[in-house]
């Protein structure tokens, strides 16, 4: 994803490669965002069934 070719492709479409992080860092980020999103889903009371 961080190759020059992929970076060029993503940039052309309004996107970009993410910052690099270790699996452990990713897992920690995933867990943090999980809790936050869970709270927000409860807040907007949207039905996801």
């Amino acid at each position: 994803m961080n190759s020059p070719q992929m970076a060029q492709k993503l940039t052309a479409e309004g996107s970009q490669a993410a910052e690099r992080m270790t699996p452990a860092e990713f897992k920690a980020l995933f867990a943090r965002e999980y809790d936050e999103v869970e709270r927000q889903i409860r807040q907007i009371k949207v039905k996801i069934y």
């Binding site: 961080n2 940039t11 992080m21 995933f30 889903i41």
Partner: protein, 279 residues
């Protein structure tokens, strides 16, 4: 102008190499890996933003590893179908899963029998793709403020790739906070949502320029606003958040890759040390 803030989710590029797991967490690459084709199970339909990225990644992997990489689209259930197939795959390093951060919602709402926080044991972020609020160009609005006001007189329909997806939640959040009359129409995938937008079945589609780029360039669709807080290169000037009337609606797609089970040596090496892949 009201301020909206929604820390979201995103599309994940979730590569699950339910691979072998070496003692102590260290990962070992079996001799000769890969000796057979690698499969990437993709939770989006062919032609969707995630699918397009996965095909590019697959092609690069195949060139580096000297082995075929098969992109296997398994849609349905708002990522549930693909997630379960990937979770049941043999942990041999030959099956990856590519999904979106909708996986998080799948976990939160307990739509799968496992905990995505613990069963997906490692991962990494691989890319971010901005989510745009794309509208039918015939809609007489210039920004999101106009859009919300317009919906007060008649409900506006928006498509998504399914219930519980990032696009769905982002628009539901905006609806809840603004009082707009936006009605959700779930489709099988983003590509179908885009077709529905072009056909006039729906008026809005929160999606990626990766998949909607051609329609935007030909004037058949219009990116009304970039929903991401982060300013991405290539964002159309008129879709700039401030111009569009959104100051803090943070709703982006983050393409991530991670694996449940063991490591995916091929992908890992490609990402971290491309020169070592074939050594």
């Amino acid at each position: 102008m009201r301020r909206y803030s929604f820390r979201v989710l995103a599309g994940s590029l979730l590569l699950a190499s339910f691979g072998w797991s070496a003692p102590g967490g260290a990962q070992e690459v079996p001799p000769g890996y890969p000796v057979r084709p690698i499969r990437i199970i993709v939770s989006s339909v062919p032609g969707g933003g995630l699918d397009l990225i996965c095909r590019s990644v697959g092609q690069m992997l195949a060139e580096r590893l000297g082995q075929s990489v098969i992109v296997d689209n398994r849609t349905g259930g708002g990522t549930v179908v693909a997630t379960e197939i990937a979770a049941r795959a043999a942990p041999d390093g030959y099956t990856f899963f590519a999904g979106t951060d909708t996986l998080r919602v799948v976990g939160i709402t307990k739509r799968v029998a496992f905990d995505v926080r613990t069963d997906v044991r490692s991962g990494r972020a691989d890319g971010r793709a901005a989510l745009y609020l794309i509208v039918n160009p015939t809609l007489p609005v210039k920004n999101v403020k106009d859009l919300i006001a317009y919906s007060m007189n008649q409900p506006l329909y928006y498509g998504s790739s399914g219930v519980g997806t990032v696009a769905h939640l982002g628009l539901e959040y905006l609806t809840a906070k603004s009082g707009a009359r936006f009605v959700h129409v779930p489709y099988k995938g983003g590509a179908q949502s885009l077709l529905a937008l072009l056909g006039g079945e729906i008026q809005m589609y929160p999606g990626l320029l990766l998949s909607a780029g051609a329609a935007v360039k030909t004037g058949k669709a219009r990116p009304l606003a970039a929903l991401s807080l982060h300013a991405y290169p290539g964002t159309p000037r008129r879709a700039d958040r401030r111009r569009a009337g959104i100051s803090r609606l943070q709703d982006h797609e983050q393409l991530r890759a991670f694996r449940a089970g063991g490591h995916a040596p091929g992908y890992r090496q490609c990402d971290e040390s491309p020169t070592s892949v074939n050594s």
